[in-house]
Symmetry: C2
């Protein structure tokens, strides 16, 4: 069981979490609980580290010390939940990353879990104790604290579940499952009973902030079924049906009997489009541009290139994260000085809308349905990109909601 920051935001909510844990214990399950910092605490700690860094004079960053400060938030929650469980008569103890240990690499602030020896934690659980694990944190092989980056507690939970060979990893959050699309945009959005790891990965990377991408990768690698459900559901209700019907199960594709061609419609407004005009039409131009962007650590997402028929030149469009747009334009100007092209513009007023579904692999016509539905609503497609289980289009941001609703209907997702 994993509980995020809003689920443990204060003592009252921690008691609620303890009751949910207590129900699982009563139902005869062995339980490890992974907790985040109380909502707001990580921000407070990060702000302090920013302040401590503000005295800086261009010296190397202190990511290892950042981790020392920030990891304290989860420690507090783990201790408080263990106390609360005991006070409810449930045997429990807290486990910090270094105590288990959750061994992580030394990429401080965005560390990755390398290993979790299951002996200590498993031994405690086998003795009948609930293990309350501080999420988001690990320890490097040389004994320093390391944190996993924002949302890292999801990854902690899946990794602990994998190490313990757990039957399931339940991620309690502030939504009650994974939906066919954002219910704030399309009221007819339906909750999915099951979704495959691959689909969830695409959804996560497309901005559906239900699970951290890394946690889904890990679940896929170790075949850990992950259930996403709300921590604000009544404990009694969740327990009544064994919790099986609550939330959404993220699992292997093979375990999903009724396969859908399209499982969901996602969107993201986090990208900006950069357009280059009148590029010299010879080999090496693309590698010049994208090489320079890669050197500057700017991730490029969608790319399309077209030839101008009149002149012997090419045009190019690509998208980068909005945060990187200004830096990307600087680099583009530098490349322009070097190789010479007509001009470049940036457009932040774009949205990426995607349809996702493992059924696409074996089913033609998905793209046709998508383009048809968008054309019918007068939505102009600027850029297209595809993967095996996803088709994404870049459109004018003003049309985002319209496009999402049109696609949701076109694939019959409102009739699941």
């Amino acid at each position: 069981m994993k509980f995020g920051g809003t689920s443990v935001a204060d003592l009252e909510r921690i008691r609620r979490v303890a009751r949910l844990v207590g129900r699982e214990v009563e139902a005869g399950h062995q339980v490890a609980v992974v907790v985040s910092a109380m909502a707001g605490k990580t921000n407070e700690l990060v702000a302090w580290t920013d302040g401590a860094g503000a005295a800086g004079q261009g010296l190397p960053t202190s990511d290892d010390e950042y981790d020392v400060v920030v990891a304290s938030g989860e420690q507090v929650t783990a201790g408080l939940l263990a106390m609360t469980l005991r006070n409810m008569g449930v045997r429990a103890r807290s486990w910090l990353g270094w105590q288990i240990p959750i061994i992580a690499d030394d990429a401080h602030g965005r560390s990755r879990i390398e290993d979790i020896p299951p002996e200590k934690l498993g031994g405690a659980i086998d003795s009948g104790e609930v293990a309350v694990v501080a999420g988001f944190q690990g320890v490097t092989r040389d004994g320093r604290l390391a944190t996993l980056g924002r949302g890292g507690s999801d990854t902690s939970a899946v990794a602990v579940a994998a190490a313990l060979n757990a039957e399931r990893c339940d991620i309690y959050t502030d939504v009650d499952g994974v939906y066919t699309t954002d219910p704030r945009i399309e009221a007819k959005a339906k909750k999915l009973a099951k979704v495959s790891y691959e689909e969830m990965l695409e959804m996560a990377s497309l901005g559906a902030k239900v699970l951290q991408t890394r946690s889904v990768e890990l679940a896929m690698a170790y075949h850990v079924p992950v259930r996403v459900l709300s921590s604000f559901v009544e404990p009694g209700k969740a327990a009544a049906d064994g919790g099986e019907s609550a939330g959404t199960i993220v699992c292997d594709e093979e375990e999903i009997v009724e396969k859908r061609i399209v499982s969901g419609v996602a969107y993201s407004r986090d990208e900006a489009k950069i357009s280059l005009f009148g590029l010299p039409d010879h080999p090496g131009v693309s590698s010049e541009i994208f090489g320079a962007l890669a050197d500057a650590n700017v991730n490029v997402d969608m790319i399309v290139q077209s030839h101008s028929r009149r002149a012997d030149t090419a045009n190019m469009e690509f998208t980068v994260g909005k945060r990187d747009a200004a830096r990307a334009m600087e680099i583009v100007r530098q490349v322009q000085q070097k190789i010479g092209f007509q001009g470049a513009t940036v457009d932040e007023d774009v949205a990426k809308v995607s349809v996702i579904g493992v059924g696409m692999r074996s089913h033609a016509g998905v793209a046709k349905t998508m383009f048809g539905a968008l054309a019918e609503k007068g939505v102009n497609i600027q850029v297209i990109s595809t993967s095996e289980i996803k088709i994404s289009v870049l459109i004018d941001a003003a049309y985002t909601e319209l496009a999402v609703r049109a696609l949701h209907a076109a694939y019959g997702l409102d009739k699941l």
Copy 2:
């Protein structure tokens, strides 16, 4: 160097501390810094643990989990100070109790340090790095966090200094040294350049809250010279004279050349007096009363017994901490039921005033001077107790300031 909560209360003060540390490094010293939690943070954490415990149903307390929660405060400060030092160009890293390790017993919440293997910490310092140590915390032999109780960071600092065989342990606090008496009561109070461990112990236990008693015991056992000084002094000023003249040095008696008969006048309003009348005058009565109090964990301080001439009975007076007064009276009533005596009263309106000095050992007449000075001002003495280097009297609380000033003058402390 040890800095308490008010000295690291916010980022601005942490930068101030970093500058003080930087000066010591520039002066060519190797430095370990022990820090407390930012002022207020420990209270916040303790309040949460109280809340988590409030759900209780009479189950065993969770002192081990209390320690998990509360120890996080020092962790935050240690990380922030290490970051700040680095940003000032000073090589530094934080050390948590378990990383050193500071091995402590499992009396959670009031644990005592058992051992500090000096290898890791000393190695880091020898490499030219400032070691920033989280105070107040240790780790038990089975790998759980343990905290040392309120004010425990003083003890951490002295223990680290002892383990490293440090030249000196500088305790930075919000006062600039140890005074002959409380300057808020007697403006003529003088700062002592040196004071012996024994005297400091008596002062600490008598309510002069400069150092935690345990830290002084430890300093005495390992002969660690402790300097008490203000963290609010200008860094330049402290460095100008090598810091030698700043603050008060607490050290072995032998190192104090100019011995004074009396070094200070201390007072405490934390005690209550309990009086018993008409006790049966036969052996075993005292042990009945004080045995019952000891069983209930009530500490008794001053005791005086007197015989009534007319009846064959005795009277008895003793003092307990004000917090324990109600409980002590309950116990006294129970004993009264059992052995039978006339009555008992409690008086919370008392103060204990003490004169302290190692010179008393070899010098008669100290008591005479004390009683004479008090009599001259019309201060009635209710109870007297003495140790080798201390004489304490219990008086009406209303006379506290008058008594302190009279004694301060009587021993010439205002003329040091």
